[in-house]
């Protein structure tokens, strides 16, 4: 068959899938909105922000006591609420704060005279991760306080140099990772459903009995799903850039990597749909794999900084490379030992492998029929 014929097959399959999806409006809307749902959910996850809501009970209002509270505020570890001892206990009991720091009476006089001071800290030690943050942040405030007030007595200090020109806050970092999982979910859901629908309705037999090449059928399915996926990708990108204000350093790189990731996830979705053959399985499977993959692929920070086992597994996941290239396009830094060029080539390899694999599975399916 000629290339022109194959191109016609690709176009016909793509148009058919787009029309088919538009008929089932409820599902199409759901699949388009699912990625944006994930974005909102993950932002909820991030809202905790790592700063401990803490009550400070000031039993001394002297300048040193005030400076100590200022040191706590500078530590970027607490959301401080000055209150009375009784109110602080109430807040702790209600679960509204996680710690009470009491600056004792005579604080100023004792600091001045060099008398040892006990600083009572009550901690709601519900979770050792958050508890350790408080256990480290209080000493940080103490050292910082002494460093400011008595520079000659406390001479050992941390002198910080940053590798990146600016700090990237948690929402800025995570929303870029969420973009990737959004593209993944949209691609898997849309393409997987399109492929499975042919099996459910039995129309796959007609396609397989036609003289069309298997790769052209699969490519048509990828193109059709990619067009629909572009809509959900555009919505998520718009929210991230316009609402959250996370702007890419390179717009062209962002667009290029988006198209690459859409192609890849749609190809994987087609593969899953061809294998599962029913939407009842495809949808929970897509959602079920997206979250764990997202969590272990360096969504919250470079995978290398976490568990070595998970980092090794993450290197086999396309999401890991997807997050890396997106972080580069948005923030200009790399989160993997491999370079951006290497990551891009690996992603291209994933796209080709997924299309070939789904064409192979489709060929195998025709034998079974």
């Amino acid at each position: 068959m000629s290339l022109a014929y194959d191109l016609r097959v690709i176009r016909a399959v793509a148009v058919n899938d787009i029309r088919g999806s538009l008929v089932d409006r409820t599902f199409t809307i759901l699949s388009i909105l699912t990625p944006i749902n994930f974005l909102f959910l993950m932002i909820l996850f991030v809202l905790s922000g790592g700063q401990a809501p803490t009550a400070v009970v000031l039993q001394d209002n002297g300048p040193y006591a005030r400076e100590f509270v200022a040191a706590m505020e500078r530590s970027q570890s607490f959301i401080i609420q000055e209150t009375t001892a009784a109110r602080a206990q109430d807040l702790l009991r209600q679960g509204r704060i996680v710690a009470i720091v009491t600056v004792p009476a005579n604080f100023d006089a004792d600091v001045q005279s060099g008398t040892p001071i006990d600083l009572p800290v009550v901690v709601n030690n519900l979770n050792v991760d958050f508890t350790n943050d408080i256990r480290r942040a209080v000493p940080l405030s103490i050292t910082s306080f002494y460093g400011e007030e008595f520079p000659n007595r406390v001479v050992v200090k941390a002198a910080e140099t940053d590798l990146q020109p600016r700090d990237t806050n948690y929402i800025q970092y995570l929303s870029v990772s969420i973009l990737v999982v959004g593209l993944m979910l949209g691609g898997l859901l849309q393409a997987g459903s399109n492929a499975a629908r042919e099996h459910e309705r039995g129309t796959i037999k007609e396609l397989l009995l036609s003289p069309a090449a298997r790769w052209a059928i699969e490519t048509g399915k990828v193109v059709g799903a990619a067009v629909l996926n572009l809509i959900s990708a555009a919505i998520v990108l718009a929210v991230v850039t316009l609402v959250l204000g996370v702007r890419p350093l390179s717009f062209s790189e962002m667009v290029g990597f988006s198209l690459l990731l859409i192609a890849m996830f749609v190809a994987f979705g087609t593969l899953i749909g061809t294998l599962a053959r029913n939407r009842r399985t495809v949808i929970p499977l897509s959602m079920g794999t997206a979250l764990p993959l997202f969590f272990m692929s360096g969504a919250f920070g470079p995978a290398n900084w976490g568990s070595p086992v998970l980092a090794a597994i993450a290197r086999a996941s396309p999401v890991y490379y997807g997050i890396a290239v997106f972080q580069f396009a948005f923030h200009g830094f790399t989160t993997t030992p491999s370079s951006v060029v290497a990551n891009t080539l690996i992603l291209v390899g994933f796209v080709i492998a997924a299309i070939l694999l789904s064409a192979f599975v489709l060929r195998h399916a025709s034998v079974a029929h």
């Binding site: 008398t115 709601n124 940080l140 941390a158 140099t161 940053d162 900084w305 030992p337």
Partner: protein
């Protein structure tokens, strides 16, 4: 009103169909098992950042500080040369490089400023702030170990809870609740949507079976399948030592799991009646379960979330399920257990009522 023979026949039929769909069962189990494994693997790494430690001074003070950094539970310190540290930073193998300079001891002895250099790969403020906190914490400890410490303020910590709860233990409870919610909502919703899609519901509605019996049958099937899924997760949690209530607390734990499974199954039945299509049921129910999960605190401590999220959380039944399970599992406590059981139980009853009402309306339609 209730025909138990018909209910049993319905349950048996639905359980047979469910057991013949291993892919659907796997898809329901996958997210929570994935989460569980991630929690287990990440346990050793959370809160500990990999750092390169360059010690250029062999003096006793420098060595003492280096030892404190190495022993700290905030770092995974890798001793390196300056060049190796630079390469490790560039390769994103470490989050920071800490350098104790060659003149450290001399400067400390002479009461001159003795800065400890820390170069941070500040690509994410969460990690960066951890590092910014951890080095001064190590320095404070260093001063604390000096016979004549310049720092006179000592922290006197009182913990509200008798024991610290490890992160994997803490995260298991909400993950278990998520699993039960997803399994209950999806399995029950699918069982009903299938009846609509295959038009077998008409036969059921035309049969001499009350609507209540029909809904109770679907309810019980959803409950049994959810319990089966919950049993796997609970067993895994107990086997890994993450779930360890003692004595009667096991009773409360299992009771709450059973009640939550019932409430989730009820929600699924209602969604199945309302949405009537499998794709719609799955498309709505999984995000719904995830929203309930995150809004009720997710794997975070609710107090760290904004007030509005905390307020919404108090209207979500899974918030109470998580609370009851935490109390029973972590502290063998029954604190507010009656409230928690009442809320989740009431949710199950409301779901049953709405399900009956919805199917009655559908039948009329």
């Amino acid at each position: 009103m209730l025909n138990w023979r018909s209910i049993w026949a319905l349950v048996r039929k639905d359980l047979t169909i469910w057991s013949r769909q291993p892919t659907t069962i796997a898809a329901t189990l996958l997210p929570a098992i994935g989460f569980l494994l991630i929690i287990l693997f990440e346990a050793s790494a959370v809160g500990r950042n990999p750092v390169a430690l360059v010690v250029e001074d062999n003096g006793p003070r420098a060595q003492q500080l280096a030892q404190i950094i190495t022993d700290s539970d905030a770092f995974v310190a890798h001793p390196m040369t300056a060049q190796q540290a630079t390469a490790a930073l560039r390769a994103v193998d470490v989050a920071a490089a800490i350098t104790i300079p060659a003149d450290f001891d001399a400067n400390v002895s002479a009461h001159r400023p003795a800065p400890v250099q820390i170069t941070i790969n500040n690509l994410n403020l969460d990690f960066t702030n951890d590092l910014r906190r951890s080095l001064p914490a190590a320095i404070t400890r260093y001063y604390g170990e000096q016979p004549e410490s310049a720092i006179k303020i000592r922290v006197r910590e009182t913990d509200l809870r008798p024991v610290d709860i490890s992160l994997p233990q803490f995260e298991l409870i909400p993950t278990l609740v998520l699993l039960i919610t997803v399994a209950g909502v999806v399995n029950s919703g699918l069982a009903l949507a299938r009846e609509f899609e295959e038009q077998t519901l008409k036969e059921l509605l035309l049969a001499p079976v009350s609507r209540v019996s029909l809904i109770v049958g679907k309810f019980l099937t959803g409950w049994v399948t959810t319990l089966a899924v919950a049993a796997v997760a609970t067993g895994l949690g107990a086997a890994f030592g993450l779930l360890r209530p003692e004595g009667s607390s096991w009773l409360f734990t299992l009771g709450m799991i059973a009640l939550l499974a019932l409430a989730s199954a009820g929600l699924g039945v209602t969604l199945g009646v309302l949405l009537r299509r499998t794709q719609r049921v799955v498309g709505v129910s999984i995000p719904l379960a995830l929203y309930l999960f995150f809004l009720s605190g997710g794997i975070s401590v609710p107090a760290f979330l904004p007030d509005w999220v905390q307020t919404i959380g108090r209207f979500i039944p899974t918030y109470y399920a998580v609370h009851a399970l935490e109390m029973a599992d972590f502290y063998n406590s029954t604190e507010q257990i009656a409230r928690d059981f009442a809320v989740v139980g009431a949710t199950a009853l409301v779901a049953l009522g709405v399900g009956v009402l919805a199917i009655r309306r559908r039948a009329i339609a």
